[in-house]
Amino acid sequence: MSTTAASPSVPDYEMVVGLEVHVQLDTATKIFCRCSTDFGAPPNRNTCPVCLALPGALPVLNEHAVDLAIRAALALGCRVQPTSTFARKNYFYPDLPKGYQISQFDQPLAIGGRLRAGSRSDGSPIDIRITRVHMEEDAGKSIHDRFQGATAVDLNRAGVPLIEIVSEPDLRGADDADAYLRALKQILEYTAVSDVSMEKGSLRVDANISVRRPGEMALGTKTEVKNMNSFSGVTRALAVEFARQCAVLERGGRIEQQTMLWDANTGEVRPARSKEGSHDYRYFPDPDLPPLVVSPDRIERITRELPELPAARRERYRAEYPGLTAYDVEVLTASTGLGDYFEQIARQTEEAKTAANWMMGDVLATLKATNQTIEHFSVRPADLATLLNLVRDSVVSHTAAKQIFGVMSRTGDPPLQVAEREHLLKVTDDSALVAWIDEVFAEHAAEAKRFLDGERRLQGVLVGHVMKKSKGSADPKRVNQLLSTRIGT
C-alpha cells in the first residue's frame, strides 16, 4: 500500500511532525569500551569483549562522550540533569550483540530545549521545542546482499556513542522539517560534536507524523517513518506519508499506528513487516552502570567552552559589520570555518564588505572547484587580507588581484611575491603606460582614430585593450587620464 504525492489543493489537514535525530559523537573510542571509532576498518577489527558482548564483559562510560553530549544539549538550550540513568532496551537483532541496547529511558541526560530554525514564508518563526537529549550506543551493521543467503554482521559500529535529540511535534510541514534539520546540523557542526553527515551515517533521522484539521488541539494517530537517508528524503517522505494519511481519513478510515519505511528509489512509504509483540522493549535501569552524575562544575566548564553559536554569530555580524546584507551574513555563518576565515580577513583589511564579496565569490568558488575545505584552504586568511590591501592601496588592480588569487590558491604563495613574479604589480610609470597606449593605438588604429576624432565612449574599450596588453598591471586610472589628455580633456 503506497502512495505518491497528493494534489496541492486547499489543504484540509495540517501536518504535525516530530523528529528523532540520532547523532554519532566525534570521540576517538566507543561509548562503553576502548575500541576505536575510526571509519573504514576491516570488518570486526574494532571489537573487544565488551562490544562483542562476550560472556562476562562489562560497560565503562567514556567521559568525552558525556562532555560532547552535554555540549550539544547546552547548545540546544536544554537543562542538563544532575543525575541521569542508563536503561536496557531489550530486543533481538544480529547487529545488537547483547540482545539489548544501552540507552536512556525515563531519566535522560537533558530535557527542555529549543531550536529556532528561521521563519516560514508567512513570516512566522519556526520555533521548535526539544523534548530531550539522551545518550545511547549505536548498533553494528547488517549487510544483506554481500553473501548469498546470509546476512553479514560487522560490529565495528556497535558501541559508537550516539545522542538522540527528540523534538516535540512542533513541526508543521516538510519545509519546517528541512529548516529544523539544517539548523540542528549547523549547531552540531559549530559545537564540533559530530561530523553530522547523513551520507556517512553520523546523522540519522526518524519522523513521527500525524495529521489533524487546522485548529484542532488533539493529535492524530502518528506513524513512524524510517529509512530516510538525506534531507530531501525526509521532505519527500513526509509529503508522501502526509498524503497517504489524508487519503485514508478522507475515505473514512483510521490511521493505524505503525512503522513505515521510505523507499527513495520508488518514492513510496510502506509499512515495515512487524512481528506481533515486537515492540515490548522491557526497559529497566541497567544494573551494570550506576547513574551518571554531572556536577555543576562540569556543566559550568562546558558552558564556558561553548563556541559562539550560529544565532549569536549572525546577530554579532549584523551589529559589527553593518555593511553586510542579510544574505551575506547567512552565507558567511553557514559554517564556523567560513565565519572564522572571513573575520580574520575583515580584521586585517577593515573592509568587511569587500572581504565578504571575495569570500562569497572567489573563495567559495575555488573551494568547490578544488574540493577543499575552508579549514584546510591553500590560501591563508592573512595572505588574502594582504591581497585585498594591495588592491585598496592601488599596488595591484582589481583585475590583477583575481589572477593573483588564482595563482595563490594553486601554489600557496603570498600575494606580493606572486604579483612580482607574474609582473602584475600596478604600473604607474607614465613612460611604460604611454608605450602600451601607443602600441594599442597602433594595433587598433581604426578605433583609435575614431576616439581621437571625438568618440569619447571608445575610451573604455581602449583602456580595456591596454589592461589586456599589460596583463592587468596597468593602472587604469592613470591610463584613463593619459587617454583623456590625448583628446585634450
Binding site: 569483549p49 562483542l52 558482548a53 562476550l54 560472556p55 562476562g56 564483559a57 562489562l58 560497560p59 565503562v60 562510560l61 536496557r88 531489550n90 533481538f92 544480529p94 550483540p97 547483547k98 540482545g99 539489548y100 546476512t151 554482521v153 560490529l155 515490548d280 522491557r282 526497559y283 529497566f284 544494573p287 551494570d288 552502570l289 550506576p290
Partner: protein
C-alpha cells in the same frame, strides 16, 4: 613433610611460603592436586565436581611460577593450585557455565579475579561443575550431569557453586572461586563443610564473571579454613576500572584480623533466622557457636530484621528479570552453540531451546514476564522497592551498635539428589542467604558442626565493606570450635 600428598595438607599461605622458599616445586603441588582429584573421583564417572582440566597448561603455569620465583618474584599465592567455577572466564580452560549453549567455548580473556590469582602465582588447575548459569541450589541443574557431595555422595553439594565447594571439601585445592547471587557460595560451603565467603557487592570485580543477576552477582571464595578464604579474597578484591560497579575503596589486610579477642564485639541473633520450625539440631549447633562467641568476650543480642520473610519473593523477581536480559546475548551469532532453524528467527529459537535447560528457561520466562509491558511496575519496580526495605533492616541493626549478625546458613543440611522437585521448594534453600545479596552486605559461612554426619554451616553477616570484622570473628570461632567443626 612428605612431598606430594603432604602438600595438599598445607594451608594456602604455608604452601605459598614453601614454594617461595624453594622447598617445593609448583609442579609437584599441581601434581599432588591432580592426584587427589583422581583419588577423590572428582570427574564425570565419580562425583562429577570438576569439568575441565589441562595438565599441560597447569604444568606450564607451574613452570612460569617457578621461573618467577627464581627471578625473585614470589606472589602471595605462589604455586597454590586453585579451582575456578565454570562461569568465570579463563583463557586456558573452557567457560561453559554448566550449559550446552556454551559447550566448548574458551574465553579470549581472563576474568580480573583470575588475572589477579595468576599474578599472585596461583595455578588454575580445573573448572568446576555448577548449576547452569548459576541458577540453582544443588548443582543438579548442570547440563553436564549433577555433582555429588564428597562428604555423602548420595547428597547434593549445594549450588550453584557446588563443584568449587566440593573440590575444597575433597582436599583437591585449598582455595576455589565460586559466585554468589542468592547464596551460591555460602550454601554449598555449608553443605560441604568448608568456608565460603560472599564479599560486599562491588568488593570484587565482576569483569569476566558471566552475568546472571548483575545487581546481585559477586565472585566468592571457598577456603578449607578461614585463613585460606581470607587469603583468597585478599588477592582478588579491589577496584577494577573494567567494572563500573566495582568499589573504589581500599582493601584492608584480612589476614591480620586473626587472633584478636572479641571483647566489645556485639553479635546480633536475628529472630527471623531462627524460626520456630527451624531444624532443632541446626538451632542447637548455632546456639552452641554463639555460646563459644560469648566465651570469647562477645556480647550476643537479640535483633530483628522484619522484612526477611519477603526476601525470597523479592529475589525471585529481581534475579530472573536481570537474567532474562543478561542471557539474551546467547543467540548463536558470535560464539557458543548455533542450531539451524527456519531463517534467523528459527536459528535463535532452535539455539536457545536446545542450549538452555529447564530451570534457565523457566527463569528467563519469569524474568521476561515481570519486565514486560503492564507488569513492570507491579513486579519488578515493586520488588526493587521492597529490596530497599530489606537493606534498611540491615542498616538499622548495624547502626544500633551491632557489629555482626550470626545465623544458620541453611535451614537443612545437604539434601539427597532428586529430593527437591518443586522449583519453589528448591528456592527456599536460599532463605537465609539471599538477604545479604539483596542488601549487598558481606557474609560468610563456616563449619560449626555436624548433624547425622552432615556438615552444618553458621553464617556471619557484616556491614558493607566490613569483611575484616567478619573474618576476625570467623577466625576466633574456627579456632575455638577446632577440628571438631569438621567432624
Amino acid at each position: 613433610m612428605t612431598i606430594g600428598g603432604g602438600l595438599t595438607e598445607l594451608s594456602a599461605i604455608e604452601l605459598a611460603a614453601t614454594v617461595g622458599r624453594g622447598d617445593a616445586s609448583p609442579r609437584v603441588a599441581v601434581d599432588a592436586s591432580h592426584a587427589r582429584a583422581a583419588e577423590a573421583g572428582a570427574w564425570r564417572d565419580g562425583l562429577n565436581i570438576l569439568l575441565y582440566e589441562d595438565r599441560r597448561d597447569a604444568h606450564a603455569q607451574a613452570d612460569d611460577v617457578a621461573a618467577r620465583r627464581d627471578a625473585g618474584r614470589v606472589g602471595s599465592l605462589a604455586g597454590v593450585p586453585v579451582v575456578v567455577k565454570d562461569n568465570i572466564a579463563t583463557t586456558t580452560l573452557p567457560t561453559s557455565c554448566g550449559s550446552r549453549i556454551l559447550e566448548g567455548y574458551v574465553s579470549p580473556f581472563d576474568a580480573t579475579a583470575v588475572r589477579r590469582l595468576r599474578d599472585a602465582g596461583a595455578i588454575i588447575v580445573a573448572k568446576s561443575n555448577m548449576d547452569e548459569f548459576a541458577m540453582g541450589s544443588s548443582t543438579e541443574n548442570s547440563a553436564y550431569g549433577p555433582a555429588k557431595n564428597p562428604v555423602a555422595p548420595n547428597r547434593v553439594p549445594g549450588g550453584s557453586s557446588g563443584g568449587s565447594a566440593a573440590s575444597v571439601a575433597a582436599g583437591i585445592v585449598r582455595i576455589a572461586l565460586g559466585s554468589e547471587t542468592g547464596g551460591s557460595v555460602r550454601q554449598p560451603a555449608a553443605f560441604c563443610g568448608v568456608v565460603g565467603v560472599k564479599p560486599t557487592y562491588g568488593r570484587v570485580s565482576r569483569y569476566g564473571l558471566v552475568a546472571f543477576a548483575s545487581s546481585l552477582d559477586q565472585i566468592g571464595v571457598f577456603g578449607r579454613t578461614v585463613d585460606d578464604a581470607a587469603l583468597g579474597l585478599q588477592t582478588i578484591a579491589g577496584l577494577d576500572p573494567l567494572d563500573s560497579t566495582s568499589a573504589d575503596r581500599p582493601v584492608p589486610e584480612y589476614r591480620h584480623a586473626a587472633g584478636g579477642s572479641l571483647t566489645g564485639v556485639v553479635i546480633g541473633r536475628p529472630r527471623e533466622y531462627f524460626p520456630d520450625d527451624l531444624d532443632p539440631r541446626i538451632r542447637q549447633r548455632c546456639d552452641a557457636a554463639l555460646d563459644e562467641l560469648r566465651s570469647l568476650g562477645a556480647e550476643v543480642r537479640d535483633v530483628s530484621l522484619p522484612h526477611t520473610d519477603l526476601a525470597i519473593q523479592v529475589y525471585y523477581v529481581i534475579a530472573p528479570a536481570e537474567a532474562s536480559s543478561n542471557l539474551a546475548r546467547f543467540d548463536g551469532v558470535r560464539y557458543g552453540l548455533r542450531m539451524e532453524g527456519d531463517g534467523l528467527r528459527g536459528m535463535y529459537e532452535a539455539t536457545r531451546s536446545s542450549g538452555f535447560g529447564r530451570e534457565v528457561t523457566r527463569r528467563i520466562l519469569l524474568g521476561t514476564y515481570v519486565l514486560s509491558a503492564g507488569y513492570y511496575d507491579a513486579y519488578y519496580r515493586k520488588a526493587q522497592q521492597v529490596r530497599v526495605l530489606i537493606a534498611r533492616d540491615f542498616e538499622r541493626v548495624f547502626n544500633s551498635g551491632v557489629h555482626l549478625l550470626f545465623t544458620p546458613t541453611t535451614p537443612t543440611p545437604a539434601f539427597e539428589l532428586g529430593a527437591k522437585s518443586d522449583p519453589y521448594d528448591m528456592y527456599l534453600s536460599d532463605i537465609f542467604t539471599c538477604t545479604a545479596n539483596l542488601a549487598g552486605v558481606p557474609a560468610m559461612s563456616l563449619p560449626i558442626g555436624r548433624v547425622d554426619g552432615l556438615p552444618v554451616g553458621g553464617q556471619l553477616i557484616a556491614a558493607h565493606f566490613d569483611e575484616r570484622q567478619m573474618f576476625a570473628v570467623a577466625y576466633a570461632l574456627e579456632r575455638r570450635l577446632g577440628a571438631g567443626a569438621h567432624r
